[in-house]
């Protein structure tokens, strides 16, 4: 855990408590089976709005608290622990694009509604199955056209922060916007979103697109941190109660060392994720490197932990009744989102000039 101030400790504890009481994994299962069109539970989202979490990276003058990204990460981490199906990450990062952008109109119109949870927003950047900042979408006379793939929370979003050739735009749901669900292994909301001469408000150039993608990757890594930590500890608890050969599994050294190795990687992962969030808050010049380090480490570590979770649970890990599969499926989606480990390793090398 990073060195947190009192505000952050309170926020984290509150988020942990809320996630455990109001949004346990069973809540996600219920949502999955009910399969609402928006992909999230409006009641839970309303509660998140009331607690002000939508406004953590929004300035106070627009109804936010401006606590910063480490604080946002702390909340997202707690939600990630329980696989909470919340549009918080996507809304907060979309809001950050508006905050960093140059459109006062967009700020006035959207930030207060995003801070309060009245509206949901998301990023629509990638156009294919892997993360790529070079995009085809075009804006002509203030109208945006193009097709965005795998837009997280696309089903329930009221506004889209869209990457075009020349930078980042805000497009409201409505005329010229067609949303088609993509049902994926993690049972969360993903959609193809087609923009056909949709009215677009410019937020900034391609530097803004890159900066927002970094924030999205960092916040995603925070969700992955919560998932990895929880998956690890659930596995540990299981090993401590499952008996074979007249012994609980946790007494077997072969398994002890695998768990020790995972804890080692988890500690490194936490340092890199918190390091990236802190770099963003500090406005450091090497945010891009810090983010690539975090997302690559998070990807590798969450992969290790979730795959081991299934293996170490054994047969029951393969059943839908147990949670291991839920973590596995969500993990794979987040590994790919905003650049997988290979993408960020390559980028880290380039940024360091080798």
């Amino acid at each position: 855990m990073a060195a947190l101030n009192d505000e952050q400790v309170m926020l984290r504890d509150m988020a942990r408590e809320w996630a455990d009481n109001e949004s346990p994994v069973t809540a996600f299962r219920k949502l999955r089976d009910a399969a609402p069109a928006t992909g999230f539970d409006p009641e839970a989202w309303g509660a998140i709005g009331q607690m002000g979490w939508g406004g953590i990276v929004i300035p106070e003058e627009f109804g936010g608290s401006a606590f910063g990204y480490l604080s946002l990460g702390l909340v997202v981490e707690q939600l990630g622990r329980n696989l909470a199906a919340s549009p918080l990450s996507s809304t907060a990062v979309a809001a950050s694009a508006i905050v960093m952008g140059k459109s006062d109109k967009a700020k006035q119109e959207w930030l207060p509604r995003l801070a309060s949870g009245e509206a949901v927003a998301t990023l629509a950047i990638d156009e294919g199955p892997t993360h790529n900042l070079s995009v085809q979408a075009k804006v002509t006379d203030g109208k945006l056209s193009g097709t965005k793939a795998f837009v997280a929370e696309g089903d329930g979003a009221d506004a889209f922060v869209v990457a075009a050739e020349d930078g980042l735009y805000l497009v409201a749901k409505g005329d010229g916007v067609t949303v088609t669900s993509r049902h994926m292994a993690d049972s969360r909301s993903h959609a193809e979103v087609r923009f056909d001469n949709a009215v677009a408000e410019k937020l900034g150039g391609i530097e803004l697109t890159a900066a927002v993608a970094d924030r999205a990757a960092a916040v995603t890594a925070a969700e992955m941190l919560g998932m990895a930590d929880s998956a690890f500890h659930q596995t540990l608890d299981y090993l401590k109660q499952r008996v074979q050969f007249g012994q609980v599994l946790s007494t077997f050294q072969a398994l002890q060392h695998r768990m020790a190795k995972m804890l080692t990687e988890l500690e490194l992962m936490r340092s890199t994720v918190e390091g990236a969030l802190e770099a963003i808050d500090a406005g450091r010049s090497d945010i891009d490197q810090a983010v690539s380090l975090a997302k690559a480490t998070a990807g590798d570590t969450l992969r290790l932990v979730t795959r081991e979770m299934v293996q170490l649970y054994g047969g029951v890990g393969m059943t839908d009744e147990y949670d291991a599969g839920l973590y596995l499926k969500r993990a794979a989606v987040l590994e790919a989102m905003w650049g997988n480990a290979a993408y960020h390793r390559d980028r880290f090398g380039r940024l360091n000039d080798y």
Binding site: M1, A2, A3, L4, L236, L239, K240, Q247, S250, T251, Q253, L255, Q256, H257, M259, A260, K261, L263, T264, E267, L268, M269, R270, S271, T272, E274, G275, L293, A296, T297, A342, R345, D346, F348, G349, R350, N352, D353, Y354
Partner: protein
């Protein structure tokens, strides 16, 4: 759980240096920083800039040059080699923030800390905690001034990872102990003045029969024999004790307390890794793995290392090192805050070893045959160093509790995974 831990500061230095960079010191403690800067400017001989602590040299201390001696005496007199130790025994008496400033200011001008070794990292802090007033007054000042070299008498031929099975026996002879037995992996034993040793005072109990005893290396009956390693170096000795008389006042704590004190000593060693007595030597950009790879292997048209497979592994290594630096920094911050030491400290040994070994493996791979020279013509100094560094590095995951033992510790103490019942 431990064998001797030689020169461990070398393992950690690079990561600590980059951790210090990441910390980006704010403008706090400006007055003290100014004071430190001026004192270092006045006392650090310019000829030593960028050189290393002779006491941490792998082949032993060698002969001090007059400048090295002057610098050691200056730092020893000031107490800044052990900045946080109490002033009454010659230490610097500084708080952690001030100690960090001293460390930064030393690094800023390329100055090393001339006070080091096992006395500083391991024995001193332990004696400050468990020693009597007389023992502290006798032994601490010599460590502070870098005048007395200590070695560690823990491992034995039959007691490696299972350290508590040690057999060296200290027989109670009234006013003294009579010590017989053999220690091994005694780092720097051939140069040491004194030895802190774990000895058996009771043969009927395993852990509770162990005591912590201080032995003069020049006492009659003490013999050392250097062990030649695969790297060609001999940083360790076998140490033989034959009817060695050790005065009773050299017992630290009480009889049977040796295991407690001895393992506590290892904790001091661990905490010294996360911010304390760091040396100024650091990996500079000129000999980082990527720069060596560029030099030996070249780059493609896009400016990337041309061997894609190698490049990926180099990047992984560089990221691993960065993640480790961030973890050291986080552990230091958490230790300061009220959260207490976290699990992060327990993984340092294994990750540090992994990074050290990965770096060496990458370097010799990059250099090809040129990176496997043993001596003589046809190889640069840098290339010959890589060979030896690579071989020596294999010790890192064995000494100080092997990686397997560390994993046992993590599993049992942190994760609560118990032994078979």
């Amino acid at each position: 759980m431990s064998t001797s831990i030689p020169f461990i500061q070398n393992v950690e230095t690079d990561a600590m240096a980059s951790a210090a960079e990441q910390t980006r010191p704010a403008d706090m403690g400006d007055d003290f920083r100014q004071e430190a800067r001026e004192w270092i400017a006045a006392n650090f001989p310019a000829s030593l800039r960028g050189t290393d602590n002779a006491m941490s040299a792998i082949e032993g201390p060698g002969d001090e040059t007059p400048d090295q001696r002057k610098w050691r005496e200056a730092m020893g007199g000031k107490g800044w080699g052990v900045p946080t130790w109490p002033k009454e025994y010659g230490g610097g008496g500084l708080d952690r923030a001030q100690a960090r400033i001293v460390q930064e200011e030393l690094a800023r001008v390329g100055a090393y800390n001339p006070i080091g070794g096992m006395g500083v990292m391991m024995f001193g802090p332990t004696l400050l905690e468990y020693g009597t007033e007389e023992q502290k007054r006798e032994h601490i000042p010599g460590i502070v001034r870098g005048e007395v070299r200590w070695c560690q008498g823990y491992s034995e031929p039959g007691a490696g990872s299972d350290l508590a099975s040690l057999q060296t026996f200290a027989e109670d002879k009234g006013d003294h102990y009579l010590v017989n037995g053999q220690k091994t992996w005694t780092s720097g034993g051939q140069w040491a003045d004194k030895c802190f040793a774990l000895v058996r005072t009771d043969k009927t109990q395993k852990h509770a029969g162990i005591s912590f005893l201080l032995i003069d290396m020049d006492a009659e009956g003490v013999e050392t024999k250097p062990i030649r390693l695969i790297s060609g170096q001999s940083p360790f000795c076998e140490t033989f004790f034959t009817n060695v008389r050790v005065p009773k006042e050299n017992l630290v704590g009480h009889e049977g307390q040796g295991w407690t004190i001895g393992t506590r000593l290892l904790q001091h060693e661990r905490s010294s890794l996360s911010g304390g007595s760091g040396s100024a030597s650091r990996m500079n950009a000129g000999n980082s793995v990527p720069s060596i790879a560029k030099k030996y292997r070249g780059i493609d048209a896009d400016g990337r290392l041309s061997d894609a497979d190698l490049r990926t592994r180099i990047i992984k290594h560089e990221m691993d090192q960065r993640a480790f630096a961030l973890t050291l920094r986080r552990a230091a911050l958490e230790a300061k805050g009220n959260a207490g030491p976290s699990a992060a400290t327990s993984i340092m040994k294994n990750v540090g070893a992994r990074i050290t070994q990965d770096r060496a493996e990458l370097n010799i791979e990059i250099m090809g045959m040129q990176g496997l020279g043993w001596e003589g013509e046809g190889f640069s100094e840098e290339e010959l160093t890589q060979t030896r560094t690579w071989l020596w590095g294999k010790a890192v995951s064995i000494y100080g509790g092997s990686s397997e033992i560390q994993n046992n510790v993590i599993a049992k103490r942190i994760l609560g995974m118990l032994d078979h019942q």
